[in-house]
Symmetry: C2
Subunit: 334 residues, 2 copies
């Protein structure tokens, strides 16, 4: 746990995360940390929830995207940036680029929901469609870089993005006081990597625990086998965690993570519902995964401890729920 | 606006609200103040949302109930307290009494949802059923006071409850900085009265504006006519605002309130949805009423101002929504 903050493979540490926090000052929200006695009773510990579902664009992704944009060279700023995402990173990069006056282009599979495409275009980004395969996505990004000289801001396999993501854990630790455990979900691993580096730097004794859907447990398998095991289109409600672990996150997680706990699909929905009902906040399924891990009893040694959880985001399509609810309520009241 | 803080009819002011804040320290949550650029753009002003939907029991009501309980005499503590409520005040008084080790009894119409009764009993309170009429409710409360010597803690027509409710506005002003306008919904008027007294004391230049459903606009009619106009079972989705204005709130609102803005039922649901979607927080319909007033364009003179809103609570029965959502999501993912 007293590993050096830097290494040849891991060129960033707490200093770069503090720099990122300075850069994000006044641009990213300093999101609140919430507690809930009903959750504490269920988990048997004191749980501190860092609410990145209240972050700009509704997810922690804004931190990494903004931190990357703010480190572009003048040439890169003029040419603009490109990324691939059908999720929160697409909107995050679009908004960050708009705020910095930088052109942005997002490659998105044509199967992505129209609402995601509109939200990204709503922040002024150009959206380019590709086939819903890794090959098509990478070829499209490569072609756009060739043609336009765009700078790539990868959704998670980018040290600037990882450092930005780590600022959430830094704020959490500053606000909650000493923590015995910090946990977050793992998709591509950018958030967990930033969380590891921030926590190891600011609070070296804190245990670091990741959480994944058992249907998308590629990070767990990767760490066990010592090399990246790609996901193959896993079927989980936690849509933000379907992606495979990146090489940079893999290096960080290999060094800092104590363990990864896997949870089942009904546990994810039960945890999501618990948070909605007891905290009156909206979180997306991916975000419920570490909460599900805590509620499952599968995280050892947490009785009576102080646990920090990064709640990653709250972008859920509420339209069907509201149609349902409004019909009932207005029918009842009118 | 420079009226004295006290008067024969209004025996409390900012001092009693500060005392209440001291009493509630460590018992009530200091809830966060959230902002949202999409809301600011829609309203054309800077809006600061005091999130009492994150308060204990999910509503501001805990503040008033706890403040009242903490001022009981030793005799009253031994005998216990009674109130009538089928809403958030029932749970608030039950929890506050439990925390103070005081017996509590809640009179609730037998038509109240089972979930409300269970939640109140879950905090250790005795629930006594009555007919769903004002007469039956009052007779039942009177009988219980006679038989058991209970002390009444009225849901809103009680200066201790009003002072406790006012602590939310006090915290809001401390956190947001200067505000040009403060707004809150009006049901029985306890929250709005406490908000008026706190704001007039801490920030005398701030305009105070109430909001009501147009279908339950008894406070507006009462202020216009100069005497209380009772509601007659109004049919509005804002179930927390169906009650009639209390005499103590009437005195405070008559002195301090600039105006009351009334909103229509679809506006309430639209405002609720806006908050759910843009802020990722769950608010109940009653809580959406002042937001609906701001979005409606019916509040004059707010362009470019700084506006504080008390978000009162988030207790919504999510079960039908989750049944709907879980079926869709698990069906899709599995």
């Amino acid at each position: 746990m007293s590993a050096p903050a830097h290494s040849p493979e891991i060129p960033i540490g707490i200093d770069q995360i503090r720099d990122a926090a300075d850069r994000l000052e006044g641009l990213a929200h300093r999101t609140p940390v919430l507690t809930c006695s009903a959750l504490d009773r269920r988990v048997g510990a004191s749980v501190f929830l860092k609410c990145e579902n209240f972050q700009r664009i509704g997810a922690f992704k804004f931190r990494g995207a903004m931190n990357a944009i703010l480190q572009l060279s003048d040439d890169e700023r003029r040419s603009g940036v490109v990324t691939h995402s059908s999720g929160n990173h697409a909107q995050a990069l679009a908004l960050a680029a708009k705020l910095a006056g930088v052109p942005a282009c997002v490659v998105m599979p044509h199967s992505a929901p129209a609402i995601k495409r509109q939200a990204t275009e709503g922040h002024g980004a150009r959206v380019v469609s590709c086939e819903p395969t890794v090959e098509s996505r990478e070829a499209t990004v490569a072609r756009l870089i060739d043609e336009h000289g765009y700078a790539l801001v990868h959704p998670y396999d980018d040290w600037r993005v990882i450092a930005g993501a780590g600022t959430a854990a830094l704020e959490l630790i500053e606000e909650s006081g000493p923590l015995d455990v910090v946990t977050a979900p793992i998709g591509g691993g950018g958030l967990m990597a930033g969380t590891c580096l921030a926590t190891a730097g600011a609070s070296p004794e804190t245990r670091l625990i990741g959480a994944e859907p058992s249907r998308a447990d590629d990070a767990r398998r990767s760490l066990e086998l010592g090399r990246i095991q790609p996901s193959d289109n896993p079927r989980t409600v936690a849509d933000g965690l379907r992606t495979s672990l990146g090489t940079r996150p893999f290096a960080v997680l290999s060094r800092h993570l104590e363990r990864i706990v896997a949870v089942e699909e009904p546990e994810i929905l039960e945890a999501m519902r618990f948070i909605w009902e007891r905290l009156n906040i909206i979180i997306e399924p991916s975000c419920a995964v570490p909460v599900a891990a805590l509620l499952s009893g599968r995280v050892p040694g947490i009785a009576g401890t102080r646990i920090g959880v990064i709640l990653t985001g709250g972008n859920v399509d509420l339209d069907p729920m509201f149609q349902h609810l409004a019909g009932r309520w207005l029918g009842h009241a009118l």
